[in-house]
Amino acid sequence: MLEMKGIDKRFGAVVALNKASLTVQDGQIAALAGSNGSGKSTMVKVLAGLVAPNAGEIFIDGEKKIIHSGTDAARENIATAFQDLSLIPTMSVKDNILLGCEICTKSGMVDEKTSRKQVQELLDRFHIDCDPDDYVQTLMPSTQSMLEVAKAVFRKPKILLLDEVTASLHYDEIETLFGIMRELKAEGISMVYVTHRMNEIFEICDTITIMRSSETVISGQVSEFTLDDIIYYMTGSRPKHAKAKESDLSHLDDREVVVNVKDISVYPKVKDISMKAYKGEIVGIGGLEGQGQPEVIRAILGAVKPQSGSIEFMGKPVKFKDPAAGVKAGIGFISGDRNKEAIFDVRTIAENIFAGNSAKESLFAYLSARKVRQFSEDAVKKYNIKIGKLKDPASSLSGGNQQKLVVARWIAMNPNLLLLDDPTKGVDIHSRQEIHEILRECAANGMTIIISASDTEELLNISDRIYVFYEGKVAAELAGETKTAEHLVSAMMGVQESGGKEAAE
């Protein structure tokens, strides 16, 4: 049995955990739920030995344990699959799995034969389709996530921590994973399962612990909770069952075409994509991961150059040589990969919000401190971003608030076209709803929005029209009556059907 009691953790002035607790019985899967920034990941990191708590105690089988490093955690048979992966991209699959637990012969040499055999068995068990000698960096993100879990399981842990491992997994991979989790459960292994996907909690977990603003709010058997209960404890308010508003598509052909992408290809993912977006429309791009969605969005922005085809923007053919040219022409880009592509973590919140404006207009013109402050104050108020002070670094914010900050950065610039690449990946349900509301309001005011999303429900909710990508081509265009979950999912899987409108016009 694993028990965490009264765990406190502060990062500078930011409280990440406040007397948080968690209990997991042997052979049980405990869900750890909560909005972004509620402290779930920090709890996992405390157990994994990556974060030393300021106070609190950890008991394993009733014995008090001190876990101050990854080595301590390994000694207690705790293995972790991290949200942001602990794989080394430039090493092979085999070496990654064996890292730190290499199999040796009696003479102390690495036992190549046994290692290879065991790694292959592990890959087979997880249905990971790759060679043990493949480099991790060449694998698809979903395969990497799967590998991350496999690596943790390979360590034969007594306690397995899974931190949002399904975020980028496909449907069939999740099924495989759940099958393995059930096997491990039968072996008596305890698991802590962190996720944003509510249906998974009901499917696989025995108990649930809900966190809100760094504290443990409630825990109990999953069977005692309804979905509304969970959301209530996570956010503090009952969810509204608002039906997504359908845009009026009757005058579609009269409307101004803002973007017209014709037959573009971007090596190697995008083969032949054509799509249109009208003024004031929210166009969704759906599909499994790696079907060319990010590439098409970046091609419109000017961040990648298509090998063939043409792009028209506001009625004129354009060939942006870099994103700066696209931004200048009135395009905004919001990435879901905050750390790599959006957030300036050591800069202040004010500067982060003002970043869109900083990139535009003349380089050496006078820029008053008041203007920057005013601009960011307005955005913080308008988009309900929870911050300490405007002068705090952006890294002090939680994921959801960071994403709202990036959204605010671009909305405040009022671009003609806003591109969003999976903007709510790993964002809690509450912030996600807020971001959706902001986007709808912008579209109503005439902004054109193209959004790709990995979550099908989100895509159906937000989009007026959906292009489904499959293997670098448009598999279906869904709008109005055809815009249903069944059509979307079957198009994503590449199943031909008659319901969807023919793609290329």
Partner: protein, 333 residues
């Protein structure tokens, strides 16, 4: 109950430490200033005669000269690069200044324009090699500074030649009220320009963005390459100007006279809180860091050890300072 108080006390202590830590990390310029004051007080205690107007004037003068290449270095570091050529550029324009002026008045504008062009050209070369071609900044700027140094020998054959014009020298060295050297006039011109660039222009904002996260900056519509190359060009021009002022101060200039300023400016900037990682740092910090460097050298002169001992002490104190507060930032993961 007793258990609770047991666990509470060490936490209270940790809180104070983390608060001090936070303060140090968020007030790097002030910390550099405090270190400067401590160094000066120690110097005066060891040698009370050091407290005189000539010494104070010299400290101001040398700090201002160092603060100018440090300005360029600050920009380059914020943008994620490094410029080891500032020393060679300073030496070159110093040599050029004395060589062209030959102790006569009336060449100031010519020398100024020529120096700025040279500085900009070297900066551009640095920028193109580091940013566009993508070579490591440390190696490229050193290699280029070597070329720049050889140019001095080609121009002068290694012979000490010429002299700064008397008027120009006077505009740097003569004292206002017998204490403050005239060079402050140049600082009054240069410092605000640097502050303007870093704090009140979109160039500055973009530079910080580029240094912090170049990928995000690019997708945000910033021309990353252009901004980074510009930082090298500014650095070259500032160093070129500093070389002229240095020549005016020394009157004569031998080849490689200011080569030390390459590493001195780098350390001054780091002491002032700018990080190697890029994306953070302030010019006020770099000015305070320049003051620390000058006062440290002043203290060592007061102690008057032999040259090797002096070098060892210098290095030891600098490493201590760098360790003290260029530690990793407290980042919420």
């Amino acid at each position: 109950m007793s258990n609770k108080t047991m666990t509470f006390n060490p936490n209270a202590n940790k809180d104070i430490f983390s608060k001090i830590n936070l303060f140090v990390q968020t007030h790097t310029a002030l910390m550099a200033l405090i270190i400067a004051v401590v160094l000066y007080v120690v110097t005066i205690i060891i040698n009370p005669r050091g407290l005189n107007t000539v010494a104070i004037g010299n400290i101001i003068l040398l700090t201002i000269i160092l603060s100018i290449p440090a300005a360029g270095q600050t920009m380059v570091l914020i943008g994620g690069g490094m410029d080891f050529s500032v020393g060679a550029v300073m030496s070159s324009t110093a040599v050029l200044t004395t060589y062209t002026m030959r102790g006569e008045n009336g060449h100031f504008i010519t020398v100024l324009l020529l120096s700025l062009v040279i500085g900009a050209a070297v900066g551009l070369l640095n920028g193109v090699c580091c940013v566009k071609i993508g070579l490591p900044a440390m190696i490229v700027t050193m290699a280029i500074s070597n070329i720049v140094t050889r140019m001095q020998y080609i121009l002068t054959q290694g012979i000490l030649s010429g002299k700064a014009s008397p008027l120009f020298s006077a505009s740097v060295k003569s004292k206002i009220f017998g204490v403050i050297p005239m060079i402050v006039i140049y600082a009054i011109i240069v410092w605000p320009i640097v502050f303007y660039l870093l704090k009140r222009s979109r160039f500055g904002k973009q530079l910080y963005m580029v240094g912090n996260n170049s990928g995000a900056a690019r997708l945000n519509g910033v021309r990353v390459t252009k901004i980074q190359i510009m930082s090298y060009v500014f650095s070259g021009m500032l160093a070129a100007f500093a070389g002229m002022l240095g020549a005016a101060y020394m009157s004569t200039a031998r080849c490689q006279i200011f080569d030390d300023y390459a590493y001195m400016s780098l350390i001054a900037v780091i002491i002032g809180g700018t990080t190697f990682a890029g994306g953070s740092g302030t010019y006020e910090g770099s000015i305070a860091g320049s003051l620390v460097m000058v006062l440290l050298s002043n203290l060592l002169t007061t102690l008057n050890p032999t040259q090797p001992v002096r070098n060892v002490l210098n290095a030891a104190i600098l490493i201590l300072l760098l360790v003290l507060y260029n530690r990793g930032k407290a980042v919420r993961q």
